[in-house]
Symmetry: C3
Subunit: 353 residues, 3 copies
């Protein structure tokens, strides 16, 4: 295991083992300590849970932290395309940014949302792919244009924690939101549930399909696990008997980069707000999940969010345990090759001329 | 002791004990170490002393740090009112922000100034009260709309350090400033001096009274300690025999949220700048205090600030020692209930279905 | 050694010893540990390498970190001039900012670029000089208006690592860039090469001379080391036989603060981009250096930057090792005077009146 870009890259057993380790950490098992190892965190977008849980995980594991952010007082604007004449806004190429950070830290985690202007560019997932290619150390995806594997792993841990049976119905439902949001979370949690062998239903209005590549990946994982994936526009049908209702808003691919057209398209859809009537259609004891932050009474009603079905705080807490388990595993792999590192350092010293 | 919102919440003996511990730490006593405990710091406003002194205190105590800030690259904008349809600027409710951070850290410190637009809202002190209600862990106020208890505790430590006798005159004087500033510092230091049993005089021009609730709280504390509190508009009278001149600017409650009217009101008041002539009226050996940052030759003259009366750097240094003492005390309380924590963690694990 | 403002302040032997220690650290020698010592980092400008490498160095050395940045959510805007009536944008004077931080930390590092508006002000180097004067603890310059000694030290380490013979030609060449940049890096690396005894040539178009003071300092250092310094506008002549080609853009002093005039002046100079033809004129095995971030195909071509001559990633990595060596040395000096510190603390306690 060399970093983590998309949870579906891991074999089912690996995900299961990480989830089990996260639950053990949650129950109080001590994390291993890796004194002298450094973790770099690069945030190019806002964050509360991700920043806080990665910092805390680093503390538990004894890592040294290197923390960087974008913005006016942060790192330089990044170019990701090769062969450009860089006379525009970007002052640094991801080749150098990644290559340099890889010299300073042993593990590197990066957050870089979709730009939400150019679909083709977002599908390239340019920042994360740039760092993975050029860092020379394992890279963890803290949410990219396409995937949010740490959220998906935390979601998995939450399903295990609450003992949601695998062969039951997982409904990922679209919700209205004032802005068109990226697809990383819905892509990732759908694939997680598919890999767990669940009966996955993507409930969403016309025009809000997930990208064909993400759906294909979910189908691939479901096929391997005995699960299934389908889409639905029929709320009553989809929710019937669901054990999990996972709410999330995302933007329409048909209007990607055209916020006005998107706004017109979604204007009539404000009733896509998960209320108690939605949960009433689900199975008894069904759980409500959301990755947070969540807009109350827009994406989900206060009654559902504050009610007994909601496990959103457990989900958020599990970010910490899931990431501790993941980083622990990556650190074990890194420290298993000290000889290689020493050799590299020695080779970098040239004999005097 | 479960967090700290307002210094006056503590019994007089508790404040005294914290101040004594701070002075011991200042003199070189080692702080206790709490390896494995995590402190979260959330800054929604600018800061130099507060950020630096809390970070340093965390280092002394061996805490793991989780550091978050607001702004474009920081945490999400927060809603604090219940029952809102969150389709505006705020992407997260304080219920979730607090609840999540309380899952990641053992102690949480938050800085959130008055908005200075809506007095009724500022009087609710919405962000700090939201975090205190929903975090589930002790919350330390790093300056809210109404109170700045860590500054007040540092001020108290400074008075003890410089052996200012308790039953002498403490003058809190308003000063001119280009902007209408919040009341957290004047409220807090006035209450601190009242609780210490001092003869407190609030010297300020017409229209710049502190809020009646803060004055009532100061009177309550003075009554218990044998001190007194009164207001004055007469500089010569107020300063006569003062052992402490504490300068601070604050906005007029009569014009709260109306910066233009405020500016007109305060325009003729630029002579409210503490000069050597002010100090000459005070008692021999009187001390000049200010919480910093301070605008030189606007709030106080260079001559006073750089002269022998000024103890502003000691005051700032005492932020570190006061907060170390406070966090040490809170950490002792937190670690005294490990069984409870372990039980909570165990309870959160459900048995598989 | 009490902080580091400009590398040329150090004797040649001191620089040599720091470079040797940096190479030992690079090769895997353990850094000394200084538990309980605190390093403050104050960033008033963007940074990737500097932030990351200082954080990592602090981790290696076991320091507690205090990290501050400028900007809307950071420290207060700073006034640096004495005697000002501070009723403008700056809310804090460097006297207080420095004095306070010096109470919290044992070592303080500050980054504050040239303002690039007023040459006389930039030549005063006001922020760094203010911190050096008022902090009361050793101050490390993480790039000021005039100097970037940590970059220069890393450059020196890189020359030693790659065994570039001292008595050979070091060409510092200007390059085109869309913005007029400060002079700290070219000033510093030129002086470093001069102090190393190299034959230094500053290659630049008419109107882009470095400041006379910086050139005089380079001449002084060259005179002491047996090196030399001269300027050239002739690319072919300057590059012939060079063992180092160090590219960097900088603004014209003749148009300082007038970006439009500067832009017109540099408009015809876009061919000042280091290409393979430039390197072909240099000595066999010549090295290409740049401090990063670098604009590809503007300052240097992809072919050169990705080719075998380029050692820019080693240069960046050496920031870490050079700074670790520097901070280690400063920390040894600080911890050698614990008695003085304890005495100061005791003196600050007055006996009760």
């Amino acid at each position: 295991m060399n970093g983590l870009y998309h949870l579906g890259e891991l074999a089912g057993g690996e995900v299961e083992a990480l989830a089990a380790r996260a639950l053990a950490l949650r129950a109080g098992a001590p994390a291993r300590r890796f004194e002298g190892l450094a973790l770099g965190l690069l945030f190019l977008n806002p964050s509360l849970r991700t920043q806080a849980s990665f910092q805390r995980a680093a503390g538990r594991l004894g890592f040294d932290l290197v923390q960087l952010a974008g913005g006016a007082q942060g790192v330089w604007g990044l170019e990701t395309r090769d062969g450009q004449v860089m006379d525009g806004a970007a002052a640094e190429h991801v080749r150098e940014a990644a290559g340099v950070l890889g010299r300073y830290v042993d593990l590197l985690a990066v957050r870089a949302f979709a730009g939400s202007r150019d679909l083709a560019e977002d599908l390239r997932d340019p920042v994360l792919q740039g760092f993975r290619t050029h860092a020379g150390v394992p890279v963890v995806n803290m949410e990219s244009a396409l995937w949010h594997p740490c959220q998906a792993l935390a979601d998995r841990v939450t399903l295990e924690q609450h003992a949601v049976p695998a062969p039951t119905r997982f409904v990922l439902t679209w919700a209205w939101h004032p802005k068109p949001l990226p697809h990383a979370v819905p892509n990732s949690t759908l694939c997680m549930a598919a890999q767990r062998g669940m009966e996955c239903v993507v409930l969403r209005p016309p025009g809000f399909a997930l990208h064909a590549d993400a759906l294909a990946e979910a189908h691939r994982l479901a096929a391997a696990s005995g699960g299934s994936v389908r889409e639905s526009e029929d709320r009553a049908e989809a929710l019937a008997g669901a054990t999990v209702v996972y709410a999330k808003s995302w933007g329409s691919l048909a209007h990607w980069g055209d916020a006005d057209a998107e706004a017109r398209h979604r204007a009539p859809l404000r009733d896509w707000c998960v209320g108690s009537d939605w949960m009433a259609r689900a199975a008894p004891g069904a759980r409500f999940l959301h990755c947070l932050p969540v807009r109350r009474n827009v994406v989900v009603s206060d009654a559902v969010l504050d009610g007994p079905a909601s496990v959103v705080l457990d989900q958020a807490e599990n970010r910490l345990h899931a990431q501790t388990a993941l980083l622990e595993r990556l650190a074990v792999a890194v420290t298993a090759r000290p000889a290689a590192t020493a050799a590299k350092a020695a080779a970098a010293m040239e004999s005097p001329a």
